[in-house]
């Protein structure tokens, strides 16, 4: 009796100690989560803080007097002459008009308020509407990228160094009068890369990424799943399959740049495929994602309960029927999530693509698998290395686009799993 009470007392004391240990353990876990979340929050805050401005564009509205004389035109009806006309002059004149304080010597400073491509736009507009010749029209142009960053970051002196004090005063004046305005940056999503940050967009990179991903998906999913099925269901267990298994696991750990080297050596040098094209990019990323997909697919197949397999065999299903009718449908959600995560990895991959030349400066969005193109992460890499301040925020904006892509892919993976997953 006393023994038992003593024992109970001892248990009670040890219980207290155990509870303490347990709560400490839980605290460690919570701390780890907090650190991870904190890091993530800092990252997001930084990127969004820097990048939100990338989604804004600065425009300048001018009353452009399309006077043939200002444009040095002898015959306004001759299309050839019109093409050769000076379209900068009317813009500068319009800016001059908008800013009464400007003098003749300020021409250059005025010109640098307006985007260099504005004259091209003006010419295109005039070519489309020849009847505008000789009239005065209110038109909106992109501002110069220096003006752009200045307007968007008024409080930050670092962004104003490219503008003279006079220019700053003009811009302030124009902003006050509503002639210089910021709005949603549609250009960012409709343009390819450009030397001018205000004109630069991610469309080319998005299309390039999409094309590359399509190739990667079309190749890696079927090959990976087929390999996994063979290894799990049909391959005899022997030294050779063991060897293959070890090597697949090793491949998953190989640095991605090695795959780039491989792609360069094999696809481009040996097979003579073109550089910088989504097709080759897709091939390289396929090599990179295959191990991931094979490993996750095998795990998915292994997680199919053997009882289901036995049940099918028990009613006389052949090996292939067992695999096609039962194992595959049950393993598919797992395979898909594995593949999508592999694809997401590939989407964010830069290193191997640098080696096969997808780092080139390409303005036009690619139109096919064999069109030179770039991809989102490479675009980020390119912009992040640019000296212009405006490109830095474009890079952050591009990172946000990339993250949005990744998140939607992960969301798709979760949705697919929820949708297809069955309990047994």
């Amino acid at each position: 009796m006393t023994d038992q009470t003593q024992q109970a007392e001892r248990v009670r004391r040890s219980l207290k100690r155990r509870y303490r240990k347990e709560s400490r353990f839980r605290a460690y876990g919570m701390l780890a989560i907090a650190i991870a979340l904190g890091a993530l929050a800092v990252l997001f805050a930084d990127i969004i803080g820097k990048g939100y401005a990338g989604f804004l564009k600065t425009t300048i509205t001018l009353e452009v007097d399309l006077d043939p004389e200002v444009m040095y035109l002898d015959d306004p009806t001759d299309p050839k002459q019109v093409r050769m006309a000076d379209f900068v002059a009317p813009l500068v004149a319009a800016a001059d008009d908008a800013l009464p304080g400007a003098t003749e010597e300020d021409q250059d400073a005025l010109r640098r308020l307006i985007n260099p491509y504005a004259s091209t736009e003006l010419r295109a507009a005039l070519e489309q509407n020849p009847e505008w010749m000789g009239t005065t029209r209110t038109m909106t142009f992109l501002a110069h990228s220096n003006v752009d960053v200045y307007v968007k970051h008024e409080d930050d002196a670092a962004y104003s160094i490219k503008l003279s004090e006079q220019q700053q005063a003009w811009v302030d004046d124009l902003v006050e009068r509503g002639l210089v305005d910021t709005s949603f940056n549609d250009v960012f999503f409709t343009n390819g890369d450009s030397r001018d940050p205000a004109k630069a967009g991610v469309l080319g990179a998005i299309v390039g990424s999409l094309l590359t991903m399509i190739i990667t998906l079309l190749l890696s999913f079927p090959i990976g799943v087929a390999a996994a099925i063979y290894l799990e269901e049909f391959a005899p267990r022997n030294k050779i399959t063991d060897f293959i298994e070890v090597n697949i696991n090793n491949l998953a750990a190989v640095p991605s740049i090695i795959f780039g080297l491989l792609g360069l050596a094999v696809f481009i040098n040996l097979f003579g495929m073109p550089r910088s094209v989504p097709f080759v990019g897709g091939l390289v990323l396929t090599l990179m994602t295959l191990p991931t997909i094979i490993i996750s697919s095998r795990a998915a197949i292994q997680s199919v309960p053997p009882s289901i397999r036995e049940a099918a065999e028990g009613v006389g299903a052949s090996k292939m029927q067992v695999v096609l009718h039962h194992v595959l449908p049950l393993a598919l959600p797992g395979m898909m999530t594995g593949s999508i995560i592999g694809m997401a990895q590939a989407l964010g991959e830069t290193a191997p693509l640098l080696l096969i030349g997808m780092v080139a400066f390409i303005v036009d969005p690619p139109t096919g698998f064999f069109d030179a193109s770039t991809v989102l992460p490479v675009q980020v890499f390119l912009w992040a290395g640019s000296p212009e301040l405006a490109f830095i925020e474009r890079a952050s904006a591009a990172i946000m686009v990339l993250l949005a892509f990744l998140m939607s892919m992960n969301a798709l993976a979760i949705w697919l799993r929820k949708r297809l997953e069955r309990r047994w």
Binding site: P236, E310, A312, E313, V315, G316, H325
Partner: protein, 299 residues
Amino acid sequence: MNTMNPSIAAKAGAGEQEPAIAVPESRPEDTVIEEGKTVGKPFAGDADSPKFKLRNVSVSYGNDRAIKDISLDIRRNEVISFIGPSGCGKTTFLRCLNRMNDSIEICRVTGKLMLDGEDIYQSKKDVVELRARVGMVFQKPNPFPKSIYDNVAYGPKIHGLANRKSELDEIVENSLRKAGLWDEVKDRLDAVATGMSGGQQQRLCIARAIAVSPEVILMDEPCSALDPIATAKVEELISEMSESYTIVIVTHSMQQAARVSHRTAYFHMGHLVEVNETNKVFTAPEHELTESYITGRFG
């Protein structure tokens, strides 16, 4: 232990000479007495041919012999139960009967296993056809994660037993009726099978097995995961089915073997120690090991 085999043979032989006193009530008297004489004797073209004729069957996993030289006849339309302590090889032996051991690579089966006089382990024998003739119900209810209808219809579909949807419907209904499940599920054939109770799932598995109209049904501890009521239902089903099928059932519950089977075979460490009428085995077993096992003296 090593002298067990000859002594078993001698004992079994001696036992068979006597007229069968115990007559299972559910079976016609004359057949039992006649078959009783044939048990364990070497078969040489006996007119009353058994469903399964198993001679000198040995099974080994690598160097490990799980089944040691077992000879046994399984008669047409009987319920025979295999009992024995864990690891005695009864399940391994059962799984030889429809070659479920094939998927285990290191498993090797020797000896003669004849189903209706045809060697089921000959190399050109098609396993798929064998399994259509010898169905199986497993320890854990394992319906496919599909609808109730699809579960039952799966076997007939892959074997091409039905040409039209109406034929398939008929097979499904008949199988579910035979499994005593029709009234419970007829209104929800599209429901997912895994949502049913354990007992219903197991009966669905039985329905699935009989949907391909097998001749033999192997059951590997079919009630070990079920509650007593569900067990009773499955046992009732087994008795009903014995009219049209040959049933081999492995069970850990001696009471269950006693309740459902016509004959009982006792396995011990890979040997078939005793096979006899169930009535005899549970009141007066011939072998000391059987006695010890069924009276709960085994450690």
